[in-house]
């Protein structure tokens, strides 16, 4: 049971590993080649990810929610858009490095629109990349592509924000501390709210964590265990 669950959780990793195994049996030279070209990306990842994690955690700890909301929230308007472009452009590393940072910013009140701008500009219009582009393709090519890309990002970030609502972003997987309910999985059985009404409540037929001061570990464990779809998770690494 747990093995199947583990495989399902890391399905992508399992598939990649399987292809490697097949490749090593069928064409060992190709397998070695593939591992070698992964090497560059591992180096790239090790150079940037640790610092991104630390920076994200630092900002999470020290920057108050109101500040993030004021500068990157829905009411920030043009100021928020410009700031998002700046954050994305001075970043470093591959686009997935932006994920934990953006999840944290969204949790603290940044708007979907600004999250999309940060993600996209992080991906395409980083300054070191622009310099590289000017070198190989000419400054004119680079400048025109930059202007068009900025316009495109402004338009589709606006469209994305119209389609996606804030509640539709889960963001629980990035190892946040505390108590979480996976609202995609919750089927509204109300068991947790009945078992531990001080902490859980129902809202729109889905369970929700209320603000709580203290947790009774036994009752919490009981509520987590009783959830039929295992949608409740508790990460106590922060609560000391």
């Amino acid at each position: 049971m747990t093995i199947i669950k583990k495989i399902r959780e890391n399905l992508f990793l399992v598939i990649v590993a399987l292809i490697y195994i097949i490749m090593f049996i069928a064409k060992p030279a190709m397998g070695i080649e593939a591992l070698k070209s992964s090497g560059y990306y591992i180096k790239e990842m090790l150079m940037i990810m640790p610092v991104i994690f630390i920076l994200t955690a630092l900002l999470d700890m020290w920057v108050p929610k109101e500040k993030i909301m004021r500068y990157l929230g829905k009411e920030a308007n043009a100021k928020g858009v410009v700031l998002s472009f700046v954050v994305g452009s001075i970043s470093a590393g591959p686009v997935y490095a932006a994920f934990p940072m953006c999840v944290m910013l969204h949790k603290k009140g940044a708007s979907i629109r600004n999250i999309v701008i940060i993600l996209s500009s992080w991906a395409v219009i980083k300054i070191p990349m622009l310099l590289n582009e000017a070198k190989f393709l000419g400054p004119k090519f680079m400048a025109i592509r930059w202007v068009l890309t900025v316009i495109a990002i402004i338009i589709f970030s606006w469209i994305t924000a119209k389609i996606i609502k804030d509640e539709e972003l889960p963001g629980e997987v990035m190892a946040q501390a505390g108590l979480h309910i996976n609202r995609d999985a919750c089927m509204g059985c109300t068991l947790c709210a009945r078992n531990y009404p001080e902490v859980f409540e129902m809202e729109n037929k889905k369970a929700l964590v209320k603000s709580y001061d203290a947790l009774d570990p036994d009752r919490l464990e009981n509520a987590i265990k009783s959830c039929p779809v295992k949608a409740i998770s508790y990460n106590n690494s922060m609560n000391m």
Binding site: F12, L13, V16, Y20, E33, A34, L35, K36, S38, G39, Y40, Y41, E44, I48, M49, P50, V51, F53, I54, L55, A57, L58, D60, M61, I90, S91, A92, G93, Y96, F99, P100, V103, I115, S120, V124, P128, M129, F136, L137, K140, I144, R145, L148, A152, I153, I155, F156, I159, I163, I164, E168, P170, G171, V173, M174, A175, A177, S237, M238, M240
Partner: protein, 160 residues
């Protein structure tokens, strides 16, 4: 390490030092949180990296470029955009490659389509993005990015 990565490291270390001076307990929590994030993302990041290694071996960028340069502009644009969507290529490989494409007479449109989808749209990063932001957000963002990448390419073809 480029200047920007270095600057982020230095800035973060200074920030961390200030944090430590202000509140030891909170700083300890910060480091625990960072470690937790790292552990949470490590399997996904590693699978992305090894998947990119696989894709680059099975579909070498240079061969794709050679293939694209013999096709009509329309087909080249579609193939370029699709290839850019599947994989992630570092800038120092991508830009010289696109420069050879342009010089080989493939045209600006397919080259730009390839360049823009390459970085902005990610099939390999889809599972991780989905975990972070949900299926709907990821699908909408990548779908729109793909469409706009084509649009950017077409407009650039008209301008240049």
């Amino acid at each position: 390490m480029d200047v920007f990565t270095l600057a982020i490291w230095i800035g973060t270390l200074i920030f961390l030092g200030i944090s430590l001076a202000k509140d030891k307990v909170k700083t300890k929590q910060v480091l625990k949180m960072a470690l937790g994030m790292g552990k949470g993302m490590a399997p996904s990041i590693l699978s992305i990296i090894f998947a990119i290694g696989l894709i680059l071996t099975l579909l070498p960028p240079a061969e794709i470029a050679a293939f694209v340069s013999n096709q009509s502009v329309l087909l080249a644009t579609v193939v370029g955009a699709l290839f850019g969507t599947i994989t992630l290529v570092p800038a120092f490989i991508a830009f010289p490659l696109v420069a050879t494409l342009v010089k080989a007479g493939v045209g600006v449109v397919p080259s730009v389509a390839f360049l823009t989808t390459l970085t902005m749209v990610g099939v390999v990063t889809f599972p991780l993005e989905k975990k972070a932001f949900g299926v709907k957000f990821t699908a909408v963002r990548n779908g729109l990015s793909f469409l706009f990448a084509i649009a950017i390419a077409l407009v650039m073809g008209v301008i240049i």
